[in-house]
Symmetry: C2
């Protein structure tokens, strides 16, 4: 039997952190009025394969009890393709522009490595409209992504933005007609460097001049439309380049009006691998560890979904929860000792007094205090040690012989009388 690798399973102390990340992202998405959605885990293989991207490896799904036959279904490899399919199918039941968020697993049969899993959790937010989707949504989704990621207790994330039309128009203006090949080469810039990209472009049959201009474009930094003017100075002209620069400038300028202005910068080497993006593209990296790779991404897709003759253009963002977890683990930032959500453990004096401990626990839970009752009736020191090992800060002593209950803060060692109907743990 093939061992199962690349399917992460976190221990409780890490899963508590992952659940906290997910809850924060969900809250940010809901604060912006995005509605929850879950799509099925499987799609028709023909739908998954029609996106034309051969980079991803799909897992096929078959009924073991059925006749042996090639798989007709596959596990989805992202949440955007299923969302577009759902909107196309459910169009008559939705109100447009339709905003949804979706936090689910996705699967890719790739070779596992740091931050690249075969099963991973993504948190996506997208908006799709009928006919035309205003460009301000591209800016609003980037602001939302910046806000959602800035609320996370992880290293600072910087968002790098580009527009496919800028790259396409620039290449076409340069006389490079194999735009996809050039995009793929330039997309590797953080991994293989300027020289590597130049060599790849020359291998593809382009001239040294074309290769140097392509790399030159990626050196331009800008945070607004004025900064983008530097692209014009490179002397390349094409209508698609103009369109891309106008769009990118609009998006940057709109983000500049928000509190997220310092998080988002243009980065003209960003292309994003997936073929379905048609305009804005973005990715986020840990600002101090860009070499680890992207932890979130996004982009505009004008042709992924359609409702017959009506186009259903969309733009969305995706936060790689599993990637963030993996990178944080790599950076040794997941060292929590908290192994349970419980905030307090109720001491049990003796098995005969367990019922009193249960009653105290239910009074604490009654106003939202997460409470565990001690499993043992060992000496107090042992019970306290177990609470400490679980990362629980407080232990509760039910009062005996009409004495009041007392609660001890294990961290500070202080102990005081307390009422189970009103007591709350200190925050932090």
């Amino acid at each position: 039997m093939a061992r199962i690798t690349g399917f992460p399973e976190w221990l409780p102390q890490q899963e508590l952190i992952q659940q906290d990340l997910i809850a924060r992202v969900r809250e940010a998405f809901e604060l912006h009025g995005f509605a929850p959605l879950q799509t099925r885990s499987v799609e028709l293989l023909e739908d998954l394969l029609s996106q034309g991207d051969t980079d991803k490896e799909i897992y096929g799904v078959t009924r073991l009890a059925g006749e042996p036959a090639p798989a007709e279904w596959g596990l989805h490899y992202d949440l955007t393709v299923p969302f577009a399919r759902f909107v196309s199918e459910s169009r008559s039941k939705l109100t447009f522009p339709f905003r949804r968020y979706q936090i689910q697993q996705a699967w890719r049969g790739e070779r596992p490595q740091l931050g690249r899993f075969r099963e991973f959790i993504q948190a996506d937010a997208d908006v799709i409209d009928e006919g035309v989707l205003d460009l301000r949504h591209d800016a609003d989704l980037l602001s939302l992504l910046a806000r959602a990621t800035s609320d996370l207790p992880v290293p600072t994330i910087r968002l790098l933005v580009n527009n496919r039309k800028v790259l396409q128009g620039f290449y076409l203006g340069l006389g490079i007609s194999d735009v996809v090949g050039a995009l793929r080469a330039v997309d590797k810039l953080p991994k293989i460097g300027d020289q590597g990209v130049k060599e790849q472009l020359i291998e593809l049959g382009h001239s040294t001049g074309q290769a140097e201009a392509s790399v030159g474009l990626t050196k331009i930094a800008a945070s607004d439309s004025v900064g983008l003017e530097a692209v014009r100075d490179l002397g390349v002209e094409h209508p698609l380049l103009d369109e891309g620069l106008t769009e990118l400038g609009f998006v940057l300028d709109r983000v500049q009006t928000t509190a997220q202005r310092d998080t988002v910068v243009a980065a003209l080497h960003i292309a994003r691998g997936f073929d379905y993006y048609t305009g804005t593209v973005a990715e986020g990296v840990f600002a101090d560890h860009p070499d680890l790779g992207s932890v979130c991404s996004g982009g505009r897709y004008d042709t992924l979904a359609s409702g017959g003759s009506t186009p259903l253009p969309g733009v969305g963002v995706s936060i790689g929860i599993s990637r963030i977890m993996a990178f944080c683990d790599h950076l040794e930032l997941l060292k929590s000792e908290r192994r349970t959500p419980a905030e307090v453990m109720v001491i049990v004096h003796s098995e005969a007094e367990r019922n009193e401990a249960d009653v105290v626990a239910d009074r604490l839970r009654g106003h939202g205090v997460k409470t565990l009752v001690s499993d043992s009736t060992a000496a107090y020191g042992k019970q306290i040690k177990r609470a400490d090992r679980l990362g629980i800060r407080y232990v509760w002593f039910p009062g005996q012989n009409s004495q009041p209950d007392e609660v001890r803060d294990i961290r500070s060692g202080t102990q005081a009388a307390a009422d189970a109907d009103v007591w709350r743990p200190a925050t932090g």
Copy 2:
């Protein structure tokens, strides 16, 4: 291509309800100190098939890009088998008794019907200990299940409890040695009735007397150990029956000391299909619609997990989120018109004033108010109508010409000045 049926996808107005159910169950589990866990979606087929239950149909998973080969992995069909596997593997890193909850999808390739999906969400809570797991955990898990389900905005759920040993001991005492066959027959009682069960037992080669006694057992109702004495009056004797009655009586009596006492009753026909249960078994039904079938379940499994020579007995409960959704939908209880989590929509007077609306929205979000900004700048009536269609109760008018902001309650029609930094929607 085979159409994909049995994989539910809820519209936002229903998914909001599902997310609310999940959040409430999660809260109940955490209040009791259960830690979150997510296991991978795939297991080795040999592990899934080793449970010996042939009722379930497993989906195999293969890499499309690999050599054509029979599937070696399968999607898990429940959360208990993966949990037991996880605990066996991770034993040295866990603190026992280990309490975890797990809210995930599971997959079974069965024919879809009301409440039976091929992809479904379950919310499980389990505790596993090393060596021996005290019987009080069986009662505590039932109390937790009763509490978690009673907090849900769904029809009242009644929990029916039994103990496999009672059934096994009773059959053995009657001279029925094919215990599994008899269990399967009796488990069908709600579907095929007394006469149907008797006929099945007789078909299996048992006498009329044995069949009648077996059905007679199922007629006994009890809510505590005293009520269970009626079983003795049937005159069947076996050491395993004694053990089962003692365990079941203890569990019932302990639940009787809690606030959930009225929710839990013994039901001596309950067997639960899965082969891994060894003692306590339980299932919950909508009290007024028992014919729909179970919406939650649970039981004791003493041999599912093991750590070499050390047994790892467990007991757990499982809430069928997707089943509850399906039954509520069937009962027409999912008629919500709320299509977004947003509580208020900010009116946009004109495109030139969109920025002011965005600023207001961010002030509202700053203290947790879920806020959408109007997509259009149409007449106020149209913007309000759109908010209403999304199920948003409030619309917000940013003040113009130094006038204060105003908020309108669409439901009541009242409108009043309000401050975006402090305003909150009414609850309910």
